[in-house]
């Protein structure tokens, strides 16, 4: 079976436009959260898309499109696709889809009646809109669909893309996740669940953590069959080594208190990658900053990785950008790859007070160089867990 490689990445996040901004600013200790939310403040859709493309897309799709343009250029596809279009897929996850479009049209209908609802409402709100738009924008005619598993959606999209390439359904897949749910209904609904931080601070694994901070953004990766990528002389960023997915079957919103499903997903991802716990040099945690997740995730890491869990640096991208829901797994996979490539682990920002139950190394204060004295390639896992009890783990190896 051929390997699956990552040849391009693109991101739009609260830290700015571009995957480089995500890595460099996070590693520099910059936090993209302001006023209790991780908004992509630098993002103006029409600076990147035509008026027509921008108005044909909900914000989550706009974010995905811009991230995809960067990712394809990064993969060297800017001048044209290296493969037959029918062999290239588009698999983009989202937790919610076009909720801004839904809310806007609901208000329009309430105020003016059903005839005022836009003909664009359905194509903008549908959860597969980002996958469809990316497919159309770049002329990708292979498998194209969205994945929906709440905050695991982006990681499940990438995992599904890995499978599609290994299975021969596609030679390459443009994959990732996108979310734009900083809307009144969404805020109110997550607030009603008491899931959001009251302090407005995302400080994963800290004793003072009090809920997650919502963010928005998109991350898109170009995955290719390794043999095909090498044959075309592609620059390879990383190897998508493995994917593990499980469910807790426990509770609609709370993780299993012992992290059983999460631990099983980590174990499966390692087995899929043909890797041992001792191979892992970094964990990009789900790390939401909620009391329950960070505790269960810590337990799961110890269960799946054993004593080695104590020796590995663990950091949460959500400390710098908030929780990007269905985009989180994709943006964090990119952050993981760029951290491994730079041999530099960005910190868990805001961590300063130890919770006695959370006793791992969460990389406080500042970025830490990755010590690879034996010259081996760095391998990491990136965790994503979603409401509904979804667990998706990616195992990534940087070149």
């Amino acid at each position: 079976m051929n390997d699956v490689v990552v040849t391009g990445v693109g991101a739009v996040t609260p830290l700015g436009i571009g995957a480089t901004a995500l890595h460099e600013r996070w590693a520099a200790g910059i936090c993209g959260i302001a006023d209790g939310e991780g908004r992509c403040r630098e993002f103006v859709a029409t600076e990147h898309l035509s008026v027509k493309d921008a108005r044909r897309a909900d914000r989550f799709t706009q974010l995905a499109l811009v991230a995809s343009i960067e990712a394809l250029a990064d993969a060297g596809w800017g001048e044209g696709m290296p493969y037959d279009a029918g062999r290239v897929g588009s698999i983009i996850g989202t937790g919610i889809g076009g909720i801004g479009t839904i809310e806007l049209n609901d208000r329009v209908m309430f105020d003016g009646g059903p005839k005022q609802v836009s003909p664009l409402a359905v194509p903008l709100m549908m959860g597969n809109a980002a996958a469809a738009a990316v497919s159309m924008r770049h002329g990708l005619c292979g498998p194209a669909f969205g994945t929906v598993s709440a905050c695991s959606s982006g990681a499940d999209a990438i995992g599904t893309a890995i499978r599609a390439i290994r299975h021969g359904d596609a030679v390459a897949v443009v994959t990732g996740g996108a979310e734009a749910a900083l809307t009144p209904l969404s805020r109110a609904a997550f607030g009603a669940l008491d899931a959001l931080s009251h302090s407005g601070i995302s400080r994963p694994f800290d004793a003072r953590r009090d809920g997650f901070v919502m963010g928005e953004g998109a991350g898109v990766l170009v995955l290719e069959d390794g043999e095909a990528a090498r044959a075309r002389g592609a620059r390879i960023l990383a190897v998508a080594r493995g994917y593990g997915a499980t469910a807790d079957a426990h509770h609609l919103t709370a993780p299993h208190p012992e992290g059983e499903g999460a631990a099983a997903a980590i174990t499966r991802a390692l087995a899929d990658a043909g890797a041992q716990a001792s191979d892992i040099v970094y964990v990009n945690a789900h790390g939401t900053s909620t009391p329950l997740n960070d505790r269960a995730e810590t337990i799961a890491l110890k269960a799946a990785l054993g004593e080695h869990a104590r020796a590995i640096p663990i950091s949460s991208t959500k400390s710098a950008i908030g929780h990007l829901l269905g985009a989180g797994g994709a943006v964090e996979a990119i952050a993981t790859i760029l951290a491994l490539r730079a041999r530099l682990i960005p910190p868990t920002l805001g961590w300063g007070e130890r919770d006695p139950q959370l006793d791992l190394d969460y990389v406080p204060d500042r970025a830490r160089p990755l010590d690879l004295s034996d010259g081996r390639r760095p391998i990491a896992i990136s965790n994503s867990f979603g409401f509904g009890g979804h667990n998706a783990v990616l195992c990534l190896e940087a070149i």
Partner: protein, 80 residues
């Protein structure tokens, strides 16, 4: 029935096409909608705007007959 002048109709249609992403300088009576990259979704939106402004209901059959900007203006003017 001339509640609305042809100029008013032309302005609403032109403004709509521009808001859909068409280049203002390309829009004239003879311009083909397809050349302005106006498709069926745009025409569905345009129908809604026309009904709101002029009370003229255009069916999808009516819209299918429109090929130029002038066709659209004339059809609405006829019924407004």
């Amino acid at each position: 029935m001339a509640e609305h002048t042809s100029e008013q109709i032309e302005k609403v249609i032109t403004d709509s096409l521009i808001s859909f992403g068409a280049n203002a300088e390309d829009i004239n009576r003879d311009a083909e909608l397809s050349a302005l990259d106006i498709d069926s979704l745009d025409l569905a939106e345009l129908s809604q705007i026309i009904e709101e402004h002029f009370g003229v209901e255009l069916t999808s059959g009516d819209v299918a007959e429109i090929s130029t900007v002038g066709d659209a203006i004339d059809l609405v003017a006829e019924r407004a």
